[in-house]
Structure formats: C-alpha cells, structure tokens
Amino acid sequence: MKQLMTFLLLGGMAQAATLNIQLSVNVGKTPLEFGQTQQNVAGNTYSLDLLKFYLSEVALVQADGSELPLDGVRLLEFNKDTGTQNIEIFKSDVPAGTYKGVRFSVGIPRSLNHTDPTAQNDPLGVDSGMVWAWNPGYVFFKIEGKFLKGGAQQVFSLHLGTDPYKLQYNLADVQLQKIQLKVPESGGVVKLKLDISQIFKAGLNGEQYDLSQARYQQVHGGPVFGAAYLNLLGAFSLE
C-alpha cells in the first residue's frame, strides 16, 4: 500500500494496476507431477514429494534498467495437493506500463537471514519448517523426494541456503528489447517457469549429480551446495 501511495504521489501519470506473477513447475517441458517417476541425466529413477522455497527481492525492471522494488518475502510450497501449473506466487499493485523484465531472489535477504526464527512471525517463524537451528540462516530452497536404489525406494533431499547461495535471477533485457512485460490498467500476469530437472544438470567437478552416490542424497551443506546452486541458476525462466 505504501508502495502504491508513493506511485500515486510521485507519478501522477501511470495508473495503478495489479501484477500477478504465476509459476509453472516442469520437468523439462512436461508439467511436474509429484510422485510420478522421472529419469535424471545420471540415470536415476526419482520422484518428488516436496518443493518449497522463499521468494524475495522481487522487482520489475523499467525501461532505463532501473528497478521498481516490490515488498515482501513469500514462502512457497508445492506438493501433491497444490498443483504445479500457473500457480500465483506473487501479487502487487504497480504502475501500469511495459516493463523490460523481472528480477527476484530465491532465498532470504541477508538482513533477515540471521535473526532468531523463534522471535519471528510467519513466514519466517519456526513453523515454516525452513529453519536451520545451528543458525547459518534459513533454508532457502528445499526439494525432497525418493529414488530407486537396487529396486528399493530411498529418500533424498536438497536443502540449499546460506548467504553466498542466495539465488538471484535477472530475467530482464534492456538492450535487445526482446522482453516486454505488459501490465495494463486492467492488470498483468507474468508467467515464470521452473524446470526442476535442472537440479540434476551436473554434479561436482564434472561428475554427474548421481543420487546413488551418498554425497548427493542428503545435501544440507558442503561442496555439493556449489553444484546445486549453479544448476538452479539456470532453472527459472520467463514463459
């Protein structure tokens, strides 16, 4: 609301419009279905049970490349009950207009990342299930599922976090003008895609992200963070 008031006071020309950001989660080009088995590049047969992450630092990119920051930290959860296609993940009032892109982070801004979660409110409290109690900050991105090992199901998880691994996305194009995000007065929708198969794109030091190897099964820190981070940097795109 404060943002909107600022626009009205300063702008005068642009009318407020509602911006919706929607996300579709896919495996490659196929809509993700939780519980359904997939193959990754290492040849593991896997299925997913949970995808959960913080979205923050959302900003629209204006014609001159400057940012229009939009307030708020959101905790998003996808599981078998939520669906995965065209899910609204962010809503805000913005000045109507055409924007050159969107920027956002998956994670928590550093300024919020090291407080005591037991003293925070939703979505930063302990009921978020995104807390590392030994306090390097919050889990930014969580994916959990199962893979087949010797015919038996075994769980795997990736809990990515810590300040250096906040994922920052810049889905904007000021130079070539190929991205035109139109937000008319009647409201606009920005559609994002997350290709979850990208998580398995590559492992450490040229090896594959192979769930049959112990170091890729319960990833809550350590060197595999770097591989997962790089893989995820290419996982979001504009539709």
């Binding site: 037991t118 409290g125 302990v126 299930g129 807390v131 030994w134 306090n135």
Partner: protein, 320 residues
C-alpha cells in the same frame, strides 16, 4: 517480583555458589508451570520424531545428567550424526547453543535435533498435525499458551522445561559454601591444579565452568567436522568448538565434541600432552607437565562436580 517468579519456577535451590549467574529467559517466553509441564511431556515423548521412536530424552538421558553414554547417539532408524550429546545441566544459563554457538536461544536450539535428518528427522507440518490430533496435547497447549499446537509453542515449552534443569549442589558447591569436608584431599589438590598449573579454568571458567567461546583444542590434525568454520567459512575457525560445561562431567562420558575420548583421565592426559599438531590450536594448548598423581587429582576434582540432587531430582524425571 517479576524476577523472583521465574527463579522459583526454575527450581533454583541455591544460587549463592554462583552469584554472578543469571538464567537466560527470553521476555517472549516467561516460565509458567503449565509450559514446564507440557515441555516435560514433550521432552520424553517420541511423538516428536519422524517415526515415533526417538525423544529428546533418548539422547539426553536423566541418568547421565541429560547427556548420553555413547560417542554419537543414534537417531531415527539408527542413523548417526557427528557429535556427542551434551549435558543439559544448567542449560538455562547458557547464552548460545551447539558446538559452534550459533543458536542464541534454547528455543531455536530445540529445532535442531527435532528436524535434523540424523536425529529426530521431524517434519514440522506433520508433527504439528500429530499433536493437533491428540486431545490431550490440544488441552495441554491450550492451558500453556491459550492456543493450538504449533512448532513455535513446542520449542517454547521444551525450552521452559529445560530451564528447570538446574543444579548447584555438588561437593564442589558445598565446599565453596564453607563445608570443608565436602572435598577429599585429592579433590582439593585437583582444584588447585585446575585453577593453576593445569590451566583448565581459562576456558572452563565461571560458575558453570565454560567461557561459552569456541576453541581449537588440538584434538586431531584432520577432522571431517569443521566446527565453527561451518558458520563463518574462515580458515582460522576450522576445528573450533565451544567449551562445554564441566558440571556433572563424571556422568557424561565419553568426551569431546565427537565423543572420541572414553574417560576423564584420557581427556586430561590429552591436555597434559598439549594435543595433536594443529595450525589452529589455541595458544593455551601446550604440554602442562602434570605428573600421574596430579592427573589423578584433577580427575578427582572433576568428579566432585557431580550433583547427586540434580541426578536424582524426581521433578526432572518422566515419572517422578
């Protein structure tokens, strides 16, 4: 008056041995009998673990001063992490938690073992759902918080119970209060060594025998557990672990962050030797020159820190 009430609820029998000590009670989570009762029930209830097999008390056993007698306690499905379960003796007085000291409240600390994959592996939403399905728990949460079960209230209640685990009545405390028969001659010699030649007191300082700071005690040249480094990513922090309390230490073998030393004597001998070669070793780590008799005396002094009233306190037990 506000200060007196929490002290009473802590069950502090006597703070005179440690007048500078004050319990750390967040203003957002004052002690109440209802919270303590709920926290105690939760502490002993495996309902909080993923598969209903592990409770807080599985690794924090009252018979061992709320520590364990294993190097690494098994979690759900027998999985093992990397660290030795610490005692909860006088945990109310601690300002930070875990061997890095990264958690600044007991409430936040409780989230660690609850959700850690190798310990209780609890899923927050699932656990809250289980508690809400229990009429008994719904009533207890309502009495304690005037609210329905949530993970926030789970950790607040457990922390409230843990803050009652207070004991200052060991032979050492009684000696400090003037009972000169409380310590044997060997223990008295050990006490002198502790505060002088053996130099233990630099890190094991204050009424709870901890400076609450991380140190590298030259335990090994290489350790997969990098200690404080995992919080700071600074090379000089590799192998630093927070000083543990020594209260009830005779009951909490094995020792060190990884439980790698079986006895107190072995541990004191490690310090007497000056530790292993290690670039990050604390400057205080050097050969101490203690004789065998002096090592025995230091061990005897450490044994005088056992508080039998703490260990036998029925209020701490699941079934008093």
């Amino acid at each position: 008056m506000n200060r007196i009430v929490p002290l009473v609820l802590l069950g502090v029998v006597c703070l005179s041995a440690a007048p500078a000590l004050l319990p750390q009670i967040p203003t957002t989570n004052p002690q109440t009998p209802e919270k303590i009762a709920l926290g105690k029930k939760l502490f002993y209830d495996p309902i909080l673990s993923q598969n209903g097999t592990v409770s807080c008390a599985s690794c924090h056993n009252p018979d061992h001063a709320f520590a364990d007698n294993q190097p690494i306690s098994p979690g759900v499905e027998g999985r093992k992490g990397a660290r030795n379960a610490p005692t909860l003796t006088n945990v109310a007085f601690r300002k930070s938690f875990f061997f890095e000291g990264g958690a600044k409240s007991l409430e936040l600390q409780a989230m660690g073992p609850l959700t850690e994959h190798n310990e209780m592996a609890s899923d927050v939403a699932e656990t809250v759902k289980k508690l809400k399905a229990s009429a008994q728990y719904v009533a207890l949460f309502k009495a304690a918080f005037q609210d329905e079960p949530s993970m926030q209230h789970v950790v607040e209640a457990i922390a409230s119970f843990e803050r009652t685990l207070v004991g200052f009545d060991s032979p050492y405390d009684r000696f400090q209060r003037g009972d000169l028969t409380a310590l044997s001659e060997s223990q008295q010699r050990g006490m002198e060594l502790f505060f002088d030649k053996a130099d233990c007191f630099h890190c094991h300082s204050g009424g709870n025998f901890t400076d609450e700071l991380p140190h590298n005690t030259a335990l090994s040249f290489f350790d997969e557990d990098q200690g404080l480094f995992r919080l700071t990513s600074r090379d000089e922090d590799i192998g630093k672990f927070k000083t543990p309390t020594l209260r009830n230490i005779a009951l909490t073998a094995p020792y060190m962050h990884d439980g790698s030393m079986a006895t107190l004597r072995e541990t004191v001998q490690h310090y007497n030797d000056g530790g292993e070669s290690n670039l990050n070793a604390d400057p205080l780590m050097r050969p101490l020159g203690l004789t065998d008799q002096e090592i025995d005396d230091v061990v005897a002094f450490l044994e005088s820190l056992t508080d039998e009233t703490f260990v036998k306190n029925p209020a701490f037990r699941e079934k008093p």
